[in-house]
């Protein structure tokens, strides 16, 4: 949070926002840009997972949502040299000396989540994360590719924010997707692009420092499964949610 809120980051983000405002003014959609920013102030953090992973977290009051690095440390997972090497290096560049303590989520408006990361999703309680969460422009691996950043180089500033300034980051990032014709109903898809709709996910990433458990979950959402066994697991999950005081929503 201190890094994201530093003067250097904040000034660079303000400069990006200024560019966004120039384009919005030149193209006549400055009101839409402001409205979009206001809408993003109500956004939440969402984590997409498998049914089993969510169930495990909800069933056990003592269970913490685990990180990739903790899985490795606990030897519950074997690293994949090919896919995970770059990821770890970029995460370390983003969060020097504490990247292992970061949990990853995405910023969402409404009921959207990234289906490729999991068919079900947990919306987190804002009050449980807002003081320890920061925002980043996008998936760090894709960011590094897009900006042609090599492993031994530091990341450019202006691409992260505190939770409270997430509207600014979203405006600076998404302004080119807005126009004078954009309607509010389109905001969720502008903030988060799911691969089921268009090629490749595009989203603002939420980085949460430290552990959290089922008490940080506000809502679980997911589709009604098609197969019998999965339908039963979903019913079981709903019961677990009820017991833990977490609301559940079935989507199509």
């Amino acid at each position: 949070v201190r890094l994201a809120g530093s003067a250097e980051e904040s000034e660079a983000l303000t400069e990006r926002l200024r560019n966004a405002e120039i384009s919005a003014t030149a193209a006549g959609y400055q009101d839409i840009l402001i409205d979009f920013g206001n809408a993003v102030l109500a956004s939440k953090a969402v984590i997409a997972r498998t049914l089993a992973a969510i169930q495990d977290l909800l069933d056990d009051a003592k269970a913490n949502y685990t990180t990739y690095h903790h899985q490795l440390q606990a030897q519950a997972r074997v690293p994949n040299e090919g896919f995970d090497k770059v990821r770890t290096q970029i995460e370390a560049a983003l969060h020097p000396n504490f990247h292992q303590e970061i949990r990853y989520a995405a910023l969402t408006l409404g009921n959207k989540w990234l289906h490729s990361y999991g068919k079900f999703a947990m919306i987190l309680r804002t009050e449980m994360i807002e003081n320890r969460a920061t925002l980043f422009e996008e998936n760090p691996s894709i960011f590094a590719t897009r900006h042609q950043i090599l492993i031994n180089q530091s990341l450019p500033v202006g691409y992260r924010s505190t939770w409270q300034d997430r509207n600014k980051l979203a405006q600076a990032k998404c302004y080119s997707k807005l126009s004078a014709k954009t309607e509010r109903v389109e905001y969720p898809n502008i903030l988060m692009q799911d691969s089921q709709v268009d090629f490749g996910e595009d989203y603002v990433e939420v980085h949460i420092y430290g552990a959290f458990n089922r008490h940080s979950i506000e809502r679980v959402i997911g589709p009604e499964p098609k197969r019998g066994a999965d339908k039963l697991l979903w019913r079981s999950l709903k019961k677990s949610c009820e017991a833990a005081g977490v609301s559940v929503e079935s989507t199509k």
Partner: protein
């Protein structure tokens, strides 16, 4: 790896080179494409991921169904043994169904490895034991064996941690003991249901690859507390005899002569290349896998790696980049010490703009022995990531470190290319000229030298240089195509056309000749034939983005703007990582007059290609055209901050400063002396406009006339036409002004033509120009055309400004739109 599957996630991920797709078991027909960087996230929760060397959809889905059934059977068993009365009956039903799919052993292996936390509700399950006999049998067994399960589990936990090599080894051994049923065998033996010796034997066999495994299994047995009826020696004997059997089988392979093996591999490679030529990619892949497996079976990993690298080059020639990546990456896996395979993988990733990964592969190539290629690769990565100073230093370092390397010319060529990228053509020419003397057999240096001469506007010299290159390297396409290109630039379009015909005849498998010919036809206004050639090029070279953009540009020039936009959109979808296609599309939208949409398109390009100075410049230019001068100035400053020597932005900034009246600052940005490059001619034009705005007509006219006579580049020549017209208007020489712009296109020429014609009393022509300008989206153009109309009676109302105001605004628009 071709596919990763997980029953827990109910998902299969297909990885074919650079292409990643996934499919969920629930919707097996929906293949979703994702970014390669997401592979790690797609199966993030899954602890049961299996790698499969197959892309056969049915085979992969069948395996996925199997894994899903295993996972869900276990979960149904857990629910059945849980205490939720409502869910138990259905869980039993589904478990029974899933156990029919050969999952019973898997479920029992896992269920008999950990004791249950509570007592199962058999009272609820018992009534349906006949209906769901398989499920009942499984549940009853788990319930009955709880005591033994707890005992065997405790026995495992009590094994001294010091006996394991490390904690990871303990986790791995336990995982094998669970999934391979060793816990289950000991549990059943402890309960007296199976033979104890069998359980012990299986444990020794399955865990033998781990350090100190024999002592660990012994300790486990000891903790469990049962006695074997066979000694350990008997196990060991049995163990070794099985190993010997295995060795015998390996040795039974019939040895093949080296020549015969070479011929067989060569024939197989030819067959694979033939399939690639016919576009039968999946068959080619299958054949390649078979060939490589054969070579590996013969113990020849190095040869297998070379085969894959060689096939990858063939895939590259035909535009199958993803397949190329798949094959070279496979080569690095089967031959982890093959530096060449790593270097080749670095090359492919570099072309895919995956720079960090490319850099890592080049570093590994260097570590594994190819230090030269590794160094050059690193320098190329830096160049591609726009770190030109660092790239220059890296190429110079390679030049110094490997002066006698057989491919030492690569460092020289790299330095020349970096200088060209830096807009330092004089230095580029110097390095190429030296390099050509040192390495006279390298065509890339000769062609680089000629191209640099073209950059410098020395078209005749460039032509001679290319012709000289043709004499030395008659098989180098770039020399032939370079010659044709120079003729095109010189306006000798018929000769250029004939030269491109030569290129096509000599190099029929290359797209460059077709695209060049089509481009000349477009220049000649022969749009129909140009489109035919582009269509042929797209048909023959569908993997190359050039003919797609050429087709779109031709449609634009022909005035078929909606079709042009459609053509660009198709090209952008097909080649999402090509920034120039996206910029071409944005330019077209601007040309179509929708400046808001164009700005949005430029903004999206800036976000998606933040390293592309073209994207940033496109946005800044549009802000300038819209009259947002301060904003444009800031945008140019951002570009110059990224690359100070980027002349296009530097001179455009000078134009904005001139408009804003900050003339001294503008002058400081412009070069002195005779211009040579395209950018320098633009700067020269701006210098003339500064004189014009200052009322120094004589100097302005000198510059514009000199420019018109000397510039060899057509687009830049048009700038001098409009500038001269603006100068002549300020002298009230309307006829001369009209002559300069009557054959020119665009809103600036239209404005000046309207003014000249109106002043000469040619009201029909003036009205035609005025009508053309009515739809112009630029406010400053509209305001000026209305004032000219008022001034010369084309509109009914009285003029609002003086004639001098009109002249000033014309000069401003010439600078804003042309410079």
């Amino acid at each position: 790896v071709n596919a990763l599957i997980s029953g827990i996630a109910a998902r299969a991920v297909f990885i074919e080179g650079a292409t990643v797709t996934y499919v969920d078991l629930d919707s097996p027909d929906d293949f979703i494409a994702v970014h390669h960087a997401d592979i790690g996230n797609i199966l993030a929760d899954a602890s049961d991921v299996v790698e499969i060397q197959s892309t056969d959809r049915d085979e992969v889905l069948c395996k996925l169904e199997e894994l899903w059934s295993k996972d869900r059977a276990l979960r149904m068993l857990q629910l059945a043994l849980d205490d939720d009365e409502e869910l138990i009956p259905e869980a039993v039903e589904f478990l029974d169904d899933l156990l029919q799919k050969d999952t019973a052993d898997w479920v029992l292996n896992l269920a008999l490895s950990w004791p249950l936390p509570g007592t199962p509700r058999l009272d609820i399950i018992t009534p349906c034991k006949r209906k769901y006999a398989s499920a009942w049998e499984c549940i009853e067994k788990v319930a009955d064996l709880q005591e033994s399960i707890a005992h065997v589990r405790t026995a495992w936990e009590e094994i001294d941690l010091g006996m394991f090599h490390n904690s990871l080894q303990r986790v791995q051994m336990e995982s094998v003991a669970v999934t391979d049923g060793l816990f289950r065998k000991f549990v059943e033996a402890h309960a007296g249901r199976t033979n104890w010796n069998e359980a012990a034997l299986a444990s020794y066999m399955k865990l033998q690859s781990y350090k100190n495994s024999r002592a660990i299994v012994q300790a486990w047995e000891h903790n469990i507390g049962l006695q074997r009826t066979k000694s350990i020696i008997e196990y060991v004997t049995l163990d070794l005899s099985e190993e010997e059997d295995f060795i015998d089988k390996e040795e039974q392979a019939v040895p093949v002569g080296a020549w015969e093996a070479y011929q067989r591999v060569k024939r197989a490679q030819e067959g694979i290349i033939d399939r690639l030529k016919r576009g039968e990619v999946s068959t080619a892949k299958k054949f390649a896998v078979n060939l490589v497996q054969e070579q590996l079976a013969e113990g020849n990993a190095q040869h297998a790696s070379k085969t894959l690298c060689s096939l990858a080059q063939e895939a590259k020639k035909r535009g199958y980049t993803s397949l190329q990546l798949e094959w070279v990456q496979h080569a690095t896996i089967i031959a982890p010490d093959d530096a060449w395979a790593f270097a080749q993988t670095g090359d492919v990733l570099l072309n895919l703009y995956r720079l960090a990964e490319a850099d890592s592969y080049f570093a590994q190539a260097a570590q594994k022995g190819d230090k030269h290629y590794g160094s050059i690769g690193h320098a190329r990565v830096l160049k591609k990531s726009n770190k030109l100073e660092e790239a220059l230093a890296a190429f110079r370092q390679a030049q110094e470190d490997f002066p006698d390397h057989p491919e030492a010319y690569r460092a020289w060529a790299g330095i020349g290319e970096v200088f060209r990228d830096m807009d330092r053509p004089e230095e580029a020419l110097e390095i190429y000229s030296k390099a050509v003397q040192l390495f006279p057999n390298e065509d890339v240096l000769w062609c680089g030298r000629a191209a640099t001469m073209k950059d410098l506007g020395e078209l005749d010299r460039a032509l001679s240089a290319y012709q000289e290159a043709i004499i030395h390297f008659p098989n180098t396409i770039h020399a032939w195509a370079g010659t044709a290109d120079i003729y095109k630039e010189l306006g000798e379009l018929e000769i250029a056309l004939s030269r491109y015909d030569d290129v096509i005849a000599r190099f029929p498998t290359e797209a460059i000749g077709y695209c060049g010919r089509a481009d000349v036809l477009r220049e000649q206004g022969n749009f129909e034939d140009a489109l035919t050639v582009y269509a042929k090029a797209i048909d023959k070279f569908g993997f190359d983005p050039s003919p797609y953009s050429g087709r779109a540009e031709t449609l634009r020039d022909w005035g078929r703007l909606d079709e042009a936009l459609e053509a660009y959109s198709c090209a952008v979808n097909r080649f999402p990582y090509e920034p120039y296609l996206r910029n071409g599309r944005a330019n077209l939208i601007k040309f179509m007059g929708d400046l808001q949409l164009a700005l949005q398109a430029y903004d999206q390009n800036v976000r998606d290609f933040p390293y592309s100075l073209f994207a940033l410049t496109g946005r800044a230019n549009l802000l300038k055209e819209l009259g947002k001068y301060q904003e444009a100035l800031n945008a140019y400053d951002d570009i110059v901050a990224k690359r100070a020597e980027y002349k296009a932005a530097r001179y455009a900034k000078a134009a904005v400063l001139t408009i804003m009246g900050r003339v001294e600052e503008a002058k400081a940005l412009l070069p002195e002396g005779e211009p040579r490059t395209k950018d320098e001619w633009v700067a020269y034009h701006i210098r003339g406009m500064i004189h014009l705005r200052a009322g120094e007509l004589e100097q302005a006219l000198d510059i514009f006339t000199h420019g018109l006579l000397r510039v060899q580049f057509r687009k830049q020549r048009a700038y001098f036409h409009t500038a001269l017209a603006a100068a002549k208007l300020s002298q009230n020489q309307y006829k001369e002004a009209l002559n300069y712009v009557k054959d020119q296109d665009g809103p600036v020429a239209n404005l000046l033509e309207m003014h000249s014609a109106a002043a000469l009393g040619q009201h029909e022509l003036a009205m035609e120009c005025y009508t053309n300008l009515l739809d112009d989206p630029r406010e400053n153009v509209l305001v000026l055309s209305e004032e000219i109309a008022r001034r010369f009676g084309l509109a009914k109302s009285a003029p609002l400004h003086s004639e001098n105001w009109i002249l000033e605004k014309e000069a401003e628009i010439v600078l804003a739109l042309a410079a």
